[in-house]
Chain length 652, copies 2
């Protein structure tokens, strides 16, 4: 082990290796594999007969074939309980969210019937409960509403919603098929917290319409427009509606609080929306409140989903809106579905393949758009109920689907008298749970930049629109990545006492400075975006060091050691920068020394002849060795003997 | 120094420090300073009296006050020679480029009069020769031409060109003032090589019009349109024009080749364009070729620049085009000017402040737009001539400016008979020098991705348009940065024999594997964009290691050591990933060990309580120490004694 002294002869040093050249095709193949197949999904297909491969392929796309053979009666019991629980949540929420999307309420039920069945076959999560989501519904309403008025042209609006769902599904499935799932990763957790909070706020604001019993309301979703709309018509407020709404919100919040405290009674909060609907309907039916300003759902058509393949709109002015809406809602829905699936998979310690999930969610939306459903995904609240209710497999989705089917066939007339204000109360109570202010505080404490991402997404959604918020969130997140590359940190290293390690002197104030030697660490790849900055910054380090030496009158600076451990890669701009920097350093009479460049960097430095310029002897494996050699030179330095040494520090 | 043996007791280990908490404002200030003031421009203002500060400030914005006092007669002699040389190049080039931009030829002379004077006062480069550029002229023609036809509405077109120049200057100066110069860095060298090559190709193609003597020509700039335009009117080709053009191109290329070989005779190629113009004009004058299909410049107005402040267009439909054109041409011109200034500064070993240069170039364009000039910057070819001619300071620009002034006052009638085909020949010969195919080959050899950036910029410009090429180049460059963060490399480390260093086993095939311990290195910050990928990739490393152990039957895996040296930063998504990963590792009966997290990472791990979860004892300063301790545990491992150890590897 390396216990050489400072002033050792420059002999038995381990050299930094230049990796052997690889054929271009091979390294391209490797990069493509790491980019698109990091999880190596084809591993189990290797060395298998064709029939086995077919079975494995079928199991890949339809995980139901994987788990169905092991399914037990015990599982069925748990899944039935979970399925009925989520159905009782899905029915009122489905109707509410469809109203939020300005769609016929029955669509909420349709969407809880077909998509869960498809997901049960194709999805790999055991806990995801499929259904419509508030944010997606709101986005549909606001994006489609800009093109078509849902009151004047309800049919076209409906068909556009199906078309948007179709494109959302197409996008989701293609992302999965082409292994581009990592695009979803660019929506950071912080962005999603802010975005969801903003969307929830906006959705709650929209509910003021039904809660205050207003007839006219703004079509804008931002805070300013809604507040103006609410406070310009104070004389229109209906106190009956408001009282009813507040009571139900209170009831729902209390049950949620109770279930949170007592996880055993998860069903209390899960059943509360259905109970509210029943109570509200009864109340209206008995008091004839619908004639006193309390709006009700009205007639709901009995029967299962009608087909809607022929309703998809592919004609010029509308298809553009549908595609745009589909892309944005599709990405948002996907991000939520994948995140929810992953978190529950983590709790139960099984693996979720993101790309496979995307194919499942995408297929379910494509088929949904053919059967009168609109955008579905795996909402967090419903999946959490499913998980708490003890679901074992995706069979709970099938049970929910059957329960919804029975409702569609027989129970729709019961919703005739359901007051809209109850639906609003259900939405508000669900949305309040999405405003994760504690999450935002946590972000602030740990990472200020993440907080900035979160808060700008929130402000963008609340004061601008959902799309603006989304764009801001992604832009700020990307800015962070770009800033990281454009402005990498550089550190001054010192020797940790009683150790061969050299570390950042800011973090380790006891680290020792080595006279005559400046040791720097660069913390990022050297790319075009930071090459100029790094040149300036490193030059400043040298200037500051020389100023310091001038003040203290110690050994003059002779060596600049750059620890390249963290420099993962370099491009041609980076190499030009190093070449220029070497010239500058030479001119100042200093010797540049590199430590531990990685394989990529060594390969490129070698190809670009920079290694020859610098001299391979000035590249060391560890800072310790480099310092050892430099010290040896410094101590045995005699001008006449050293003529063969680099011109750099000879002409000091 | 650390020469502990493998099986040492876990006692005298140097701990990884958690940096003391800093007030938010202080770290924000530090980040802002590093982002916007990495070169510390205010350093010299510190501790100075107010009067001195004023002088320094004046010198900052007008470097002429800095160097003028030291100006000598010797310098003047050199500068006069250089100035006359570049003037003889500037006059024909200026006229040619103005024609290229569909502007009155006289504008080319105007633009070589006022802007160089301003730059001489404000610029910090000693070698930059100011003037118009071909690419900028072409861009103006194509972008403004889309809004206004220069033949039908020449006045409006001209005024829009001034307005675009004004906005270009405004953008350039603001980038400099607000210290946003690093935006230009995002145009990588590779992108510029491809972009310039593509633009040069497109400009050459445009010259086919005058060289073939065609009357009608496409307004598109892409290869396909131009080729179609040329080959659909073969019957219109004029051989007189073509012969003349080819002769002059040949003459110009031969002189360039000669001057390149014999740098002493730099003036041969510098004078060649002027000689061509004189020869061509004489030829036309004597043979009356203008009556036989050879187009000539015609009347040029005598006199200096008329003011054009009142011509700037700020009305609705046009100002948008002007702003867009200004932004794009401004950025391109800036990138060229800064790059040229920097490279010559490097040759002569003086420093150029990018932000200061931007203010200078921006101011010169703003004032240019007030005095009938259009977009100017520091073109490479002219600056190279200036440098070769031995210029000492920016006075050579003043000399050029005076020469152009004299031309404007007395010599413009001489250009009446100058054939357009000579101007085309001048443009073609200048453009051929911009197609840097050797540069592209160099990129291919060293960095395939840079080559991709370059070639896609080229293809985008040649087959699409200049803007498309620019957007593609920036997008592909950014994609590289994002891919770097999204798909960081992870390496397996091994012990280098006879050393305490642990390095990538791919680069050092002789590095030794330590039984029972998996050592990984992560080569990028852990951010939202790569957290999922890293979790999957590291899990795959563990799976592969366990498979390997199963096959060979060696010591089972007990420790996973992650070297965090290169992990410069982490965000909340990254921390969640680590938390999840730790749970997974625990569940598999492994112990997670971190090595050398940097100060940022330690701070955040501490705040997020991850340190408490992991146990501070599982974080080491060096891989050597971590391996030493793990080995100690492995060797002295007895289940009963170790009850107080982490649950992780207890329940193996």
């Amino acid at each position: 082990m390396g216990n050489r002294d400072y002033a050792c002869p420059p002999s038995d040093v381990q050299r930094v290796a230049i990796p052997p050249p690889q054929p271009f095709i091979k390294s391209l193949k490797y990069s493509l594999k790491e980019t698109f197949f990091p999880d190596d999904p084809l591993k189990k297909f290797k060395n298998q007969p064709a029939s086995k491969r077919l079975v494995l392929g079928l199991q890949y796309f339809f995980p139901i074939f994987e788990w169905a053979p092991q399914y037990t009666l015990q599982f069925l019991k748990s899944d039935i309980i979970a399925g009925i629980t989520i159905a009782s949540l899905a029915i009122p929420q489905g109707i509410s969210y469809a109203k939020l999307g300005n769609l016929p309420p029955i669509l909420g039920l349709y969407s809880s019937f077909i998509p869960p069945l498809i997901y049960a076959m194709m999805g790999s999560s055991r806990d995801l409960a499929v259904g419509t989501v508030a944010v997606g519904s709101l986005l549909m309403a606001s994006m489609l509403g800009r093109e078509v008025n849902y009151l004047q042209n309800p049919n076209l609006y409906l068909h556009l919603a199906f078309t948007a769902t179709f494109f959302a599904g197409l996008l989701q499935a293609s992302l999965g098929l082409f292994r581009l799932g990592f695009i979803v990763d660019f929506l950071s957790h912080a962005a999603i917290v802010g975005f969801m909070g903003g969307a929830a706020t906006v959705v709650c604001l929209q509910q003021l319409k039904s809660i205050l019993g207003l007839q006219h309301f703004t079509h804008q979703a931002d805070l300013v427009s809604v507040m103006r709309s609410v406070f310009t018509q104070t004389h229109q407020w209906r106190w009956e509606s408001a009282v009813l709404g507040c009571c139900f919100i209170f009831f729902l919040l209390v049950t949620r609080y109770f279930s949170k405290r007592q996880p055993k009674f998860f069903w209390v909060s899960a059943m509360a929306p259905l109970v509210s609907v029943i109570l509200g309907s009864l109340l209206v039916y008995l008091t004839h409140a619908e004639k006193h300003g309390v709006q009700v759902i009205g007639e709901l058509k009995k029967g299962l989903n009608p087909p809607s393949v022929m309703d998809l709109v592919f004609v010029a002015p509308y298809v553009g809106t549908a595609i745009k809406t589909g892309l944005i809602t599709g990405i948002i829905a996907l991000a939520e579905g994948i995140a929810v699936g992953r978190s529950f998979a983590m709790f139960k310690n099984y693996h979720i393949d993101g790309n496979k999930e995307m194919i499942a969610i995408g297929t379910m939306n494509i088929f949904g758009s053919f059967t009168s459903c609109y955008l579905t995904t795996g909402p967090f609240s419903r999946s959490a109920v499913n998980y708490n209710a003890g679901c074992k497999t995706a069979v709970s989705n099938i049970v929910m689907s059957i329960a919804v089917m029975l409702t569609l066939l027989f129970l729709t007339p019961l919703f005739h008298y359901t007051p809209l204000v109850v639906l609003s109360a259900i939405i508000v109570s669900a949305m309040l749970g999405l405003i994760d202010y504690q999450g935002a505080i946590h972000l602030w404490k740990i990472d200020k930049f993440d907080f900035l991402v979160c808060i700008s997404a929130y402000v963008g959604v609340v004061f601008g629109s959902v799309e603006i918020g989304l764009v801001i969130a992604v832009a700020v997140s990307l800015l962070r990545l770009l800033l990281f590359v454009a402005r990498p940190r550089t550190y001054l290293l010192g020797n940790i006492p009683n150790s061969s390690a050299y570390r950042n002197v800011e973090q380790y104030p006891n680290a020792n400075h080595i006279p005559g030697i400046l040791i720097l660490e660069i913390d990022a790849p050297i790319y075009f975006a930071n090459a100029s900055y790094l040149r300036e910054r490193i030059t400043r380090w040298i200037d500051e060091e020389e100023d310091r030496i001038k003040d203290t009158g110690k050994t003059s600076l002779q060596y600049v050691i750059m620890d390249m451990t963290a420099v993962a890669n370099i491009d041609t701009s980076g190499i030009s920068m190093l070449e220029e920097f070497k010239k500058t350093v030479d001119r100042r009479g200093l010797q540049l020394v590199l430590v531990n460049p990685g394989s990529e960097v060594m390969k490129k430095l070698n190809k670009s002849k920079f290694l020859d310029e610098l001299g391979h002897k000035w590249i060391y494996l560890t800072v310790e060795e480099a310092v050892g050699e430099c010290n040896f030179m410094l101590q045995t330095y005699k001008p006449n003997q050293m003529k063969d040494e680099s011109q750099g520090w000879n002409n000091v």
